[in-house]
């Protein structure tokens, strides 16, 4: 009961003040027979020590990424987070505060959101960004819906290079809101012809950059082709560190850019919580979902920040809202902005160079193994290899040898026979020469 400050004596006084005999008199509106006589059939409360022991035991049954040679990516990446980031996000005033609806006593949150929005817009090469979404995949879903609203069309063309789980999210949203999704097949070699699919019913084309296979390509021709037919280009960036080194989607003509911000400031955490990034052009501001923080002045003329353009949102527009979304990913956005303010553009670029360098070195070493072929030509910190066998089996064999060597594409696309021999390998700044050596030796042994 260490979290419950009321004592028995307090409860007695309060019940008396209210004028009832017992607590169940306050549950008088509960229909007959539905008020439980006993607590639920679950264990009684435990001491801190016991809870630590129990959950610690479960934690120790997992292989932490930092404890083995680790090359798993595909939408979530292991990067080094400076110690000050986690320390700062645990400050009470950040951790235990609410959404900044009372701006006078939330300027801390509001200012960091304004800085975050500015950082994201600049990273992505766009005019503005919102205060974050749940994650990259739901941001991608919302971007497609926004494209439908703007163009008043209902068909989205989805590149075969988009993360299959992102595609599945878009499909679920499309199916149940009467929209259409035209998804191209898995495209490891970058051979798909997106442009010829664009017609007058297309609201948008959505591509991933770098794509799920790690491949990077110039998006300007796709942007042009889309615009020529009155459609929009939506770009999804799942490895945000890449934008420290490669052209921004904005400069290539994207209309909406979404991303997963996890790589900066946020750990892997088995898939969540993450932070969705969402940026667009000035002219589409009012069609953007999610929270927005804006600059203004207070009654004394001092600069300050507020949540603004709230009339897009569900709590005001209700049926006519741009989305049903209520929240952003506050604390994860804070971690992102703190880490990025430590890095700055100079640090981010260098971090990206370390990532790219490590990936190139690894790719060359893997390519030298007989039975392994590096399939991706241009990449940032992730690439695809073709192996002479079933990729899933090989990943398991690597795991048995203590190496987490990437993601078998068949894990994301279990029913596509054409990709069964593909593994997607990520390499970030955390990988050492020793890690690479162990990985290469293990794989060489397995495919022999």
């Amino acid at each position: 009961m260490r979290y419950l400050p009321l004592q028995e004596a307090d409860r007695a006084v309060m019940l008396q003040a209210i004028g009832v005999d017992g607590i169940d008199d306050l549950f008088v509106d509960v229909p007959a027979g539905k008020l439980l006589d006993e607590p639920p059939a679950l264990p009684l409360g435990k001491t801190e020590m016991e809870v630590e022991r129990e959950l610690g035991r479960l934690a120790s049954q997992n292989v932490a990424a930092g404890s083995v040679p680790f090359f798993v990516g595909c939408g979530a990446y292991k990067h080094h987070i400076p110690a000050s980031v986690d320390h700062l996000i645990q400050r009470s005033e950040f951790l235990t505060s609410y959404t900044p609806y009372q701006p006078e006593i939330s300027q801390g949150t509001l200012q960091y959101l304004f800085e975050f929005q500015t950082q994201v817009a600049r990273l992505m090469g766009m005019d503005l960004a919102n205060a974050s979404m749940y994650d990259g995949s739901t941001a991608a879903g919302e971007a497609v819906l926004m494209a439908h609203r703007i163009t008043k069309r209902s068909k989205a063309i989805v590149s075969g290079g988009l993360h299959p789980q992102y595609r599945d999210v878009i499909e679920t949203l499309s199916k149940h809101s009467g929209k259409v999704m035209d998804a191209l097949h898995a495209d490891p070699l970058g051979q798909e012809d997106l442009v010829s699919r664009i017609d007058d019913e297309t609201s948008c084309v959505i591509v991933q950059y770098p794509d799920v296979y790690g491949r990077i390509q110039d998006l300007a021709p796709i942007a042009e082709a889309a615009h020529a037919r009155g459609a929009l280009l939506v770009v999804a960036v799942t490895e945000i560190v890449s934008l420290g080194l490669i052209k921004s989607p904005g400069e290539m003509g994207a209309d909406i850019v979404v991303g997963e911000g996890q790589s900066i400031g946020n750990g892997l955490s088995f898939g969540g919580p993450y932070v969705g990034l969402f940026a667009t052009r000035q002219k589409f501001t009012r069609q953007m979902p999610g929270r927005l923080c804006g600059e203004t002045v207070d009654a004394e003329g001092k600069r300050g920040y507020v949540l603004t353009l709230s009339t897009r949102e569900q709590h005001i527009r209700r049926e006519k809202a741009t989305s049903n979304i209520c929240t952003n990913s506050g604390l994860c956005a804070l971690a992102f902005t703190i880490h990025l303010s430590l890095l700055g553009q100079t640090g981010l670029k260098k971090l990206a160079e370390v990532n790219h360098g490590n990936a190139v070195v690894l790719a060359d070493k893997l390519a030298a193994i007989a039975g392994v072929e590096v399939v991706t030509q241009a990449f940032f910190n992730e690439f695809t290899i073709r192996v002479n066998g079933d990729a899933g089996t090989i990943i398991d064999a690597l795991t048995e040898r203590g190496v987490l060597g990437g993601v078998a594409m068949s894990r994301l696309e279990p029913h596509d026979p054409s990709i069964r021999d593909l593994i997607i390998v990520a390499s970030t700044e955390v990988n050492t020469d020793a890690d690479r050596a162990v990985f290469v030796a293990a794989l060489e042994d397995i495919v022999r």
Partner: protein
């Protein structure tokens, strides 16, 4: 009633705006509270970096000629500068750890620090969702354990853990209902929503292509089964009800309503935002609920984080269980596995509505919520709900002579609803009243929600307050109400005067949106 237990004067001195608020300093700082320039305004920081990195390997670029050429425009700060920037920002925020947060329907309860410690164990924080399943059995076991707790507490058949927040969970639950109707070839186009519902309810329904049909509440603030029956027909797919409702009241006819809805072939979606009133006391499954989202960041203490991240698992009835989205965790004898693929789910006998997010859900929040549940236990969770309801009714009892309740004085659940009738003729609005609370050191209560009540004030103290803190809060609200009655309107209309900022010009923010920093432009009066 005057409060004197802390040597506090019975009639506090009323400070004018020119008082301690008025001293002008050279720096613009005020004691511990500092003015903080934007990161982008600090000179010379575009070349700096506060992160030491190894030298990159020298390699031939494989970037395909797509190198970024223009500087991005992101300043970098060294660690001491970053610490100061963010510590100073933090000091401008109110937080649960600083004081009572009476926000109705938000459940601002204490966020246990054990939750934070355990979520950071490398076995939870440093595992990738796509690692081979054999290497994450502990994580899968935790998800199963959490699911088991949620099912036992709610009396439901199945739970979808993946939705990332409450509104996301709402979408999930409603999609499950739609899928169930489609599976039996039933085309229905209407969803019933009470006027008092939170905006996400109609927004979700409309997104899915449903027409919203409003159900009026009766004079006591609750929904009658007659009103529901009148609105029901064979075209209604579902009713979306919040219970306890947005006025803080338990819906007394909820079982009859559920029965009527089921008889009409429709489903009952329950918005679980107010679950904190009934955990361990009532099980939604016993009331006839088909789908309900749970806000782990409200009821189960995961931190609000200044606006997220949340987590919104959805419990489902037997009828809806087959349609749960992927992914979900199963146990095969000794091993846990996660089912990620719809086709595979079908071979297991399911018919998933699809996928709502990449990866598995908010694992970081699962750990925290389970840590809370284990810490409280079945007895503690039941006690927490009782204390939440007790505290709200205590506040109601001690304020009811001065504050007005829209539906008359009656027992409430974990939150109490007042309207602005008691402020009539004072020149003080609900907004003004709320801003005066800020100067007294309190975050305001939820204002102007639910929309059906004029000038609504929704107060939810939660179970985390001592009686002493509740008494001071009550005394403060009484003091403010009496000041309003006395005609001391300036106390309110100028407020807040002691916060880091005065009232913000929200009109200007909306008319001339400035959403990113731009060099050379700064908002001035």
């Amino acid at each position: 009633m005057s409060m004197n237990s802390q040597g506090r004067p019975s009639e506090p001195k009323i400070s004018g705006a020119g008082d301690q608020a008025g001293k002008v300093t050279f720096t613009g700082n005020r004691g511990l509270e500092h003015e903080v320039p934007l990161l982008f305004e600090r000179a010379g920081n575009f070349e700096t970096t506060g992160v030491d990195l190894p030298m990159p390997k020298r390699v031939q670029s494989r970037l395909g000629g797509l190198e970024r050429e223009e500087p991005i425009g992101l300043p970098g700060l060294t660690e001491p500068e970053v610490m100061r920037h963010y510590v100073r920002l933090s000091q401008k925020n109110y937080a649960i750890d600083s004081g009572l947060y009476p926000l109705g329907s938000c459940t601002m309860k204490h966020n246990p620090r054990l939750n934070e410690k355990l979520a950071r164990l490398p076995g939870f924080s440093d595992v990738h969702p796509l690692q081979p399943q054999s290497t994450v059995q502990g994580a899968l076991a935790l998800m199963q354990t959490l699911a088991g707790y949620l099912l036992e507490l709610t009396g439901m058949a199945s739970v979808a853990l993946s939705p990332k927040a409450g509104a996301h969970g709402e979408l999930c639950g409603m999609l499950a209902i739609k899928a169930a109707l489609e599976a039996r070839g039933d085309k229905r186009s209407v969803v019933l929503v009470p006027e008092s519902a939170h905006g996400t309810n109609p927004a979700t329904a409309v997104f899915m292509g449903y027409k919203v049909r409003s159900v009026a509440a009766r004079a006591d603030g609750t929904v009658s089964v007659e009103a529901v029956r009148e609105a029901l027909d064979s075209d209604v797919a579902a009713i979306m009800l919040t219970n306890p409702n947005t006025c803080g009241l338990f819906e007394p006819e909820i079982v009859a309503i559920a029965d009527a809805v089921h008889e009409a072939g429709a489903f009952f979606y329950c918005d679980g935002a107010n679950l904190n009133a009934i955990v361990g006391k009532v099980r939604p499954g016993d009331l006839g609920v088909d789908a309900m989202h749970i806000n782990l960041h409200k009821t189960f203490s995961t931190p609000h984080g200044g606006g997220g991240p949340g987590s919104g698992p959805v419990v489902l009835s037997e009828a809806l269980a087959p349609f749960a989205p992927v992914p979900y965790v199963l146990r095969d004898s000794a091993e846990f596995r996660i089912v990620e693929d719809a086709a595979q789910a079908k071979s297991d006998g399911g018919d998933p509505l699809g996928r709502l997010t990449a990866f598995h859900g908010q694992m970081g929040m699962f750990v925290r919520a389970l840590s809370y549940m284990l810490s409280h236990g079945c007895d503690g969770m039941r006690q927490a709900s009782e204390d939440a309801v007790l505290s709200a009714n205590y506040v109601r009892t001690e304020l009811r002579d001065l504050f007005t309740q829209p539906f008359g004085d009656r027992v409430c659940m974990h939150e109490v609803l007042f309207d602005d009738v008691f402020l009539k003729g004072t020149g003080v609005t609900t907004l003004d009243f709320a801003k005066a609370m800020i100067d007294e050191g309190y975050h305001p209560m939820t204002m102007y929600f639910p929309l059906v009540v004029h000038g609504a004030m929704l107060i939810e103290p939660t179970e985390s307050e001592t009686k002493e803190d509740l008494d001071l809060f009550i005394a403060t609200l009484r003091y403010l109400a009496m000041q309003a009655r006395k005609g001391n309107a300036e106390l309110f209309t100028d407020a807040p005067v002691l916060a880091p900022r005065r009232r913000m010009d929200e009109t200007r923010a909306a008319r001339q949106p400035r959403l990113v920093w731009q060099p050379g432009i700064q908002a001035k009066t």
